[in-house]
């Protein structure tokens, strides 16, 4: 991707975020005033500031575009995304969701080995260590420190 394009996209995204902030401020915060400052004041100010920053970013991107077009020396963006971190994130989400519906043990004994497999872990010994650690962590957190974990999720009355 070209650098000016990256800057332009970032600027447009930030601009959209600022518009969303404006919308949320007016729709989700009731207007009331005490000593000249309402609960809306700061979020509204922040939304406006982000809007101005976004315009500056877009301006910078356009300036870069016209300048580079003159010199015919187009800079490349260093931003690149790989699929794998997002796959890992999906697994993290699956772990959290399984914990809600299945509880700590079902989530840990199903999702974590899958994650380890995807992370190219093939040694059976490490899977056994993981199983031991899952139980050990439960004993430390739930039994000893009395931080109640969702044992069986929604299926097992938490």
């Amino acid at each position: 991707m070209k650098l000016y394009l990256e800057k332009l996209i970032t600027g447009v995204v930030v601009l959209s975020v600022s518009i969303l902030m404006h919308f949320l401020t007016t729709s989700q915060i009731r207007e009331a005033t005490l000593a000249g400052v309402s609960p809306r004041a700061i979020p509204y100010l922040v939304a406006k500031a982000v809007f101005v920053m976004a315009l500056i970013m877009i301006g910078q991107a356009l300036y870069l575009y016209f300048r580079e077009r003159k010199t015919a020396n187009i800079s490349r963006s260093e931003v690149s995304f790989q699929r794998f971190p997002f796959l890992l994130f999906l697994l993290m989400g699956a772990y959290a969701l399984t914990m809600v519906y299945g509880g700590y043990f079902i989530a840990s004994f199903t999702i974590l080995p899958v994650m380890m497999y995807i992370l190219k872990e093939r040694k059976a010994r490490n899977y056994l260590i993981l199983a031991g650690l899952i139980i050990f962590i439960f004993i430390i957190i739930d039994v000893l420190l009395k931080i109640r974990l969702p044992k069986l999720g929604l299926f097992g009355i938490i």
Partner: protein
């Protein structure tokens, strides 16, 4: 004050505290010595364990990891030219040269002694200075607190002078997110979408865990792919570099002045919010080189250089707690997590901490002395174990870290809502980082936003809507002027960096 110190010492006299101190140090040494794993990760990992403990034991656990992690980054920096933590980058300059000369053991000993001494000096400063600042801060009203919050925000944003615009946007997003929940003055819900979970606001701990641990795990996973693609699963034998004579008394004496000077540099920098260990280690190194009788030896492997960087790096450990404990302004991200832990234990971070919870507060401060002393013995006797651990499987650690992140977020309110908050912050942090948005301003704005807003509105109620209240009070006016100056300087720096870049670009074309 002496009564409080005695009370603090008494709170440390328990087997639980001793065990937690050792456990924290062990975790810090392990995480610090493995390149790619950070002190912050160690603290996040230990965070859920602290919820079931009394505040002193919990904080001692985190402080142990903090101090030991800061030191342990030097092990791989010295032995394999790879800093275990970013702050140890400066140590590689002299440390690895010493290893190449066969003086690795001397360098490791010097790094340990310098780190412990700097940690102790920093703790003394914390013990002496913090109560005075807290006493002064008790007299602060809403106007002063507002100015203080602005000062904190301005310093943090000014640290991102390389990309000021993105730093400011990141900070603004943080402020907006911190507005979620019940309005502190009028009690109306804000940005809550009718959800009870949202009404209680965005909890700091899940947000921090998400932004720094989940996004970091995603970043690390990119490295896994590179490793798999290159098929390079070979591990460097770190142990083979562990050779040479131990440090002599003369060598230690020769570097003593540098250690003390660098410790104070580290302490001073650590006390300023938003600076951190990287800056202090490089500044200490430069100062040591400047004032050395043999500056020509720097860069070729000198023990004085290792002493300077490690003392500078560890000098911040006690000092970063000064703004956090006295004013409620975290000096860096690690102290922001620790601040979250203190709040979780029901301790009001800020000036009242010293008056209302003196025993606990002094216990936490004094524990830093014991942490540094115990760290010396653990590192001295088990250094070979920590060196071996550098080759541990990071993929396995990632899975383990996920369990602790989820439990850590869940344990805050025993609700899965916080786990999902953590995940959202995680992916947002990852994407923002990719596009060059610094995350520290966002997190610190999340901490300082509510303080700034509440005190602004309280001050305006007192002044009946007049903004002059902020300039009429001398402390508030001073903080606001310093904030403006700080922002001005960072704008100038940003402009200078950009014009330098443009000039170098032009000369490259020519």
């Amino acid at each position: 004050m002496f009564g409080n110190i005695l009370e603090g010492l008494t709170s440390l006299l328990s087997l639980e505290v001793f065990l937690m101190m050792n456990l924290g140090i062990l975790a810090g040494l392990i995480f610090g010595s493995i390149p790619g794993l950070t002190v912050l990760m160690a603290i996040v990992l230990l965070l859920p364990l602290t919820f079931g403990m009394d505040p002193v034991s919990g904080m001692v656990l985190l402080l142990g990891a903090y101090c030991a992690g800061n030191y342990a980054g030097s092990i791989t920096a010295i032995l394999i030219n790879t800093p275990g933590t970013p702050a140890a980058a400066a140590t590689t300059i002299e440390g690895y040269q010493l290893t190449k000369k066969g003086k690795a053991v001397k360098a490791l000993n010097m790094a340990l002694i310098a780190s412990v001494m700097a940690g102790l000096i920093s703790t003394v400063v914390l013990l002496v200075v913090a109560p005075f600042i807290a006493k002064l801060a008790v007299k602060f009203g809403p106007a002063e607190f507002f100015a203080l919050a602005i000062f904190g925000l301005s310093i943090i944003i000014s640290v991102c002078s390389q990309n000021l615009l993105k730093g400011v946007i990141s900070g603004l997003i943080g402020i907006f997110i911190s507005m979620v929940g019940i309005d502190p003055i009028m009690g109306t819900p804000r940005l809550a979408f009718g959800s009870f979970n949202m009404m209680s606001g965005i909890n700091l701990v899940p947000a921090l865990v998400g932004v720094f641990s989940i996004s970091e795990m995603m970043n690390i996973s990119e490295g896994f792919i590179k490793k798999w693609r290159s098929g390079n699963n070979e591990t460097i034998d770190v142990m083979e570099n562990m050779e040479g004579e131990p440090l002599t008394k003369e060598e230690f004496k020769g570097s003593l002045k540098t250690i003390i000077k660098s410790s104070f540099i580290g302490t001073f920098i650590g006390a300023v919010p938003g600076t951190g260990a990287i800056l202090s280690s490089f500044m200490s190194y430069n100062e040591a080189k400047r004032s050395s009788k043999h500056p020509e030896e720097f860069g070729k492997g000198t023990l004085e250089g290792v002493a300077a960087t490690e003392a500078g790096n560890n000098g911040i450990t006690g000092a970063t707690l000064i703004p956090m404990m006295t004013l409620g302004i975290p000096g860096d991200v690690v102290t922001a997590v620790m601040m979250g832990a203190l709040i979780m234990h029901g301790l009001p971070v800020g000036p009242t901490l010293f008056s209302e919870h003196a025993g606990v507060t002094y216990g936490i401060i004094l524990s830093l002395f014991f942490v540094n002393i115990l760290m010396f013995f653990q590192a001295k006797f088990y250094i070979k174990f920590f060196v071996k651990i550098c080759n541990i499987n990071k993929e396995f650690f990632t899975v383990l870290l996920l369990i602790f992140c989820v439990i850590g977020a869940f344990a805050v309110n025993s609700t899965m809502f916080d786990v999902f908050v953590m995940l959202i912050f995680g992916i947002t942090g990852y994407v923002l980082q990719k596009f060059g948005f610094p995350l520290i301003p966002m997190v610190l704005a999340l901490v300082l936003g509510p303080l700034a807003e509440t005190s602004l509105r309280q001050a305006l109620i007192i002044s009946k809507g007049s903004y002059m209240i902020f300039m009429m009070k001398p402390i508030s006016a001073a903080f606001l002027i310093i904030s403006a100056l700080s922002l001005g300087i960072s704008l100038y720096q940003s402009y200078k960096i950009r014009s330098n870049q443009e000039e170098s670009g032009k000369s490259a074309i020519i």
